[in-house]
């Protein structure tokens, strides 16, 4: 089949950041996810939650809340600033200081005209949303105490503000307070502390639902300003609330990691009187759930344990799907210098360059070899400034390192003797190279490709003196969306780029013009690579489909057409993590190596494709069968499940693979403290 020496690497100490806020855009079916380090990800809800766009964060951000106003995304944080994001170019458009101290909550009204912001000093500030900016309009009546949460009534005439111990209902037009509702502090130890109303939701029928630090979800009536019903959900805090688009389902996220669903149902069958009834409990998180959002087919929750969990609600979903967890980022954080045995790890604030270790001896399959030389860290490169790294790359020869933040790009030349490592910064970069959404070196390390705005790629040639700008590759379609994947060919003639508009453009590098476009597919491209000998572009999508497109013939290859005819195996399509890297086997041109977070797979194009009736994971059974019988049962997909929680699999010289694993237990042990849960017999 294929014999590889595998370097199992666990020294990439990647630490994802906890999820702080979620915002759902119902028309476009996009979910904006804000993390504690300030980064914002836009996930496509119907496309297996693929991370289409990632806006990198910055230091000291303190982001607290997100809100969509029309198609624009705003966020506010504890640094007192309101930020609007430029989603086309994946960066911050501008920030405005609200001059109210730390901002705890931001929410837009349903009409899309105004933005309300809840500040530390007790003011609810109204901002008018103009065409290209936001303008401060006025303050509503100032309250005593900080405003933790806000919610507009769908009509836009009233706002409910959750504060310490009280909930205020304010009239937007006049600014004065209509009702002041006192939240009970509870019994026991919580009586001494103030009750924090972490979240409020204002429904169209006038009910206000609040979640507080005592662990109660309370329903209030805004006509009389009194409590209708109070539900004790947990002993610790209820941190997040979200109501569905139709207004009949509510989810609450707690500190214990549980997500509780309430539904507006008629208690007695047949009668019209409806009540909010607690229906389901989902125990999907280990740590605090800080954000929940109800989408059309399910519930999305995220918290301090950094995982985005999508729980399908079977009464709403047409197709029954399993619980999905988005664990690792869908972008590559590891790049490999194939010829020099070096690996570059991208952290949020720095880069690390490691040299892989070596082992001696010949081993049997599945045996681990003793290490003769340990892997060593060669370089720790910190980013200047507060911004986080968006993308980075190391050249295959190991002599060039490049990284880009949201506003700048830096190129370094690496001199590596056996023990001495020195690095020089290339200071005179061409002016066009300001920031890149994706970076890539050509296979002979002579050129650097930098994907920038308007789906264009800048081509820069590298030599001993420095770098020289060669030209810009612009797509025919004139799309403005950012490119998230680049794939150069082995012979240096072709470059493929994939952008957020699901366009895959192939450029001819000799004339520097677009060569052809792969027909658009409905799902986003998750990984692609160009075959070294046949020059076929192999593409995998977020919904687990795969295509092979021949660049020279400008059409799909025959193998790809046969895959589409027979269809992919059900088990393959049900996998919940996307393929993030595609490689080829130098010794066998019909092999394609790909991986996702839980498996490594080699597709042999010479073998028959499996249909839905055959067993998919058949490697173990094949091993038990004798040689002659194996040929009857083998199929093209050979899956290896020896490695778990894989961040990246890369190919290095002489039949070796590097598998970078990040054990989940390592991540969990570094997370903040979870709530102590009393379990029987512990």
């Amino acid at each position: 089949m294929g014999e590889f020496k595998v370097h199992q690497v666990r020294f990439f100490e990647y630490m994802p950041s906890g999820i702080r806020a979620l915002a759902f855009h119902p028309k476009k079916e996009r979910m904006a996810v804000a993390r504690m380090d300030g980064s914002v990800e836009i996930c496509h809800c119907s496309d297996r939650f693929y991370q289409e766009k990632v806006i990198p964060g910055r230091e000291q951000c303190g982001i607290e809340a997100l809100s969509w106003v029309g198609d624009r995304l705003f966020s506010a944080g504890l640094n007192g600033e309101i930020t609007e994001y430029d989603l086309t170019n994946q960066k911050i458009k501008y920030t405005i200081d609200a001059y109210g101290g730390p901002i705890w909550s931001i929410t837009g009204n349903k009409q899309g005209t105004h933005l309300a912001v809840g500040c530390e000093d007790g003011n609810v500030k109204l901002f008018e949303v103009t065409e290209d900016k936001i303008q401060f309009e006025r303050n509503l009546a100032r309250q005593k105490g900080r405003i933790i949460s806000l919610s507009w009534h769908p009509s836009g005439s009233r706002i409910a503000a959750g504060m310490m111990d009280i909930i205020q209902v304010l009239n937007v037009e006049k600014g004065h307070s209509i009702h002041r509702m006192l939240v009970d502090k509870g019994v026991g130890k919580s009586r001494s502390k103030e009750c924090v109303v972490w979240s409020v939701v204002y429904l169209s029928d006038g009910t206000i639902i609040s979640g507080d630090s005592v662990g109660m979800v309370k329903m209030w009536d805004d006509q009389t300003g009194t409590l209708i019903k109070s539900h004790n959900v947990t002993k610790c805090d209820v941190l997040a609330l979200s109501v569905s688009q139709s207004g009949d389902s509510l989810v609450a996220g707690t500190s214990e990691g549980t997500v509780v669903q309430f539904q507006f149902l008629s208690v007695v069958l047949g009668k019209d009187e409806k009540e909010w009834v607690r229906t389901r409990i989902f125990k999907s998180h280990t740590h605090d759930v800080r954000a929940v959002a109800e989408i059309t087919t399910g519930v999305v929750s995220g918290g301090i344990d950094t995982q985005l969990v999508v729980t399908p609600l079977f009464d709403k979903a047409e197709v029954k799907s399993a619980l999905r967890k988005v664990l690792f980022p869908h972008r590559k954080l590891v790049s490999c210098a194939r010829k020099a045995n070096l690996m570059l790890f991208q952290y949020s604030g720095h880069l690390e360059l490691w040299r892989l270790g070596e082992s001696e001896g010949i081993a049997e399959p599945d045996m681990s070899l003793p290490i003769s030389r340990k892997p060593e860290k060669l370089l720790h490169l910190k980013v200047k400034g507060e911004e986080h790294i968006r993308c980075s790359s190391v050249s295959p020869c190991g002599e060039w390192i490049v990284y880009s933040t949201a506003s700048s790009l830096r190129l370094y030349k690496l001199h590596c003797d056996n023990s001495n490592v020195s690095i020089t910064k290339i200071s005179k970069l061409p002016k066009v190279l300001s920031s890149a959404s994706q970076l890539c070196f050509s296979s002979d390390s002579s050129h650097l490709f930098s994907a920038s705005t308007q789906s264009s790629v800048h081509m820069v040639s590298l030599n001993k003196a420095g770098c020289k700008f060669m030209g810009t590759l612009k797509p025919k379609s004139g799309s403005k969306q950012p490119i998230h994947l680049l794939a150069p060919s082995e012979d240096g003639k072709w470059l493929a780029s994939a952008n957020s508009d699901h366009e895959v453009q192939i450029y001819d590098l000799q004339i520097r013009k677009p060569h052809c476009t792969v027909p658009t597919y409905s799902s986003a491209v998750s990984a692609m690579a160009i075959h070294p000998t046949t020059n076929c572009l192999f593409i995998t999508h977020a919904d687990q489909q795969m295509f092979e497109y021949s660049i020279e013939q400008k059409q799909y290859s025959d193998w790809s057409r046969s895959v589409q005819r027979t269809g992919l195996h059900r088990v393959w399509l049900d996998r919940d993590t996307p393929v993030t890297n595609v490689m080829f086997n130098p010794s066998n041109p019909s092999h394609i190596i790909l991986h996702d977070s839980y498996m490594l797979c080699i597709i042999d194009q010479s073998l028959p494709l499996p249909d839905n009736s055959t067993q998919f994971y058949n490697q173990l059974t094949l091993r038990s069968l004798p040689e002659e019988q194996r040929k009857l049962y083998t199929h093209a997909f050979k899956v290896c499940k020896a490695f778990k929680e894989i961040l990246c699999v890369e190919q290095i010289s002489d039949q070796s693979l590097v598998v970078v694993e990040r054990p989940l237990s390592d991540i969990i042990t570094r997370l903040p403290k979870p709530i102590k849960q009393k379990k029987f017999a512990t």
């Binding site: 000291q60 303190g62 504890l78 640094n79 007192g80 101290g101 730390p102 705890w104 530390e120 130890k189 919580s190 502390k193 924090v196 630090s213 610790c236 805090d237 500190s255 280990t286 740590h287 605090d288 237990s665 390592d666 969990i668 042990t669 570094r670 997370l671 903040p672 403290k673 979870p674 709530i675 102590k676 379990k679 512990t682």
Partner: protein, 195 residues
Amino acid sequence: MSKLTETQFDSSEDELPEEIAFDQSKSVALKSVKDALESAKREKTLLKEKRKKRQQLFQEQKKKKCLPADVLQEFDEMPQRQTKASDNNSDDEETLNEEETISKTLQDSYSVMRLKDNSSAISLQQRATDFIQSRLYGPGTRRTTSAELLSLSRKKGTNQGAAVEFINKKISADCKAKAEKSNKRFRHKQKLVPS
């Protein structure tokens, strides 16, 4: 008078009182009055001297606080020069007036700082994060460590295994270091000889 009374007490009670001349007692009375007047005068002069000394001290302190006399003279001359030079320019006068008004209304607790030095925005953010930290992780919340959580899941899970401390090398190293520290403290406290 006091002498008379003293002699009276010394002699016995049976004897006749002594005869004292009228002149003697008159002189004694006058003397006592004079003494009282003199003592009052002395007290007054003493007080006056004290007050004088204090006043002098205050004046000296005031002099020390003020800038030297020549610098003050310069200041007296400056506004005159400015008003002479910029008679036509009303802005300067306004700024002068503004400066005067600023210095008059600026209270003792207020001070002028540069925007760069102003770190109050960061401290507000820090206070807000401290508030969240204390509400979610502070006293009153029942929290345990993530290692504990993992160990419990391993104990209760389908493939039961040992606690995380025994598997994860880093955590076990941390635990050993902590245990060694507390042992050292115990030995030091109990004044035991380290074995």
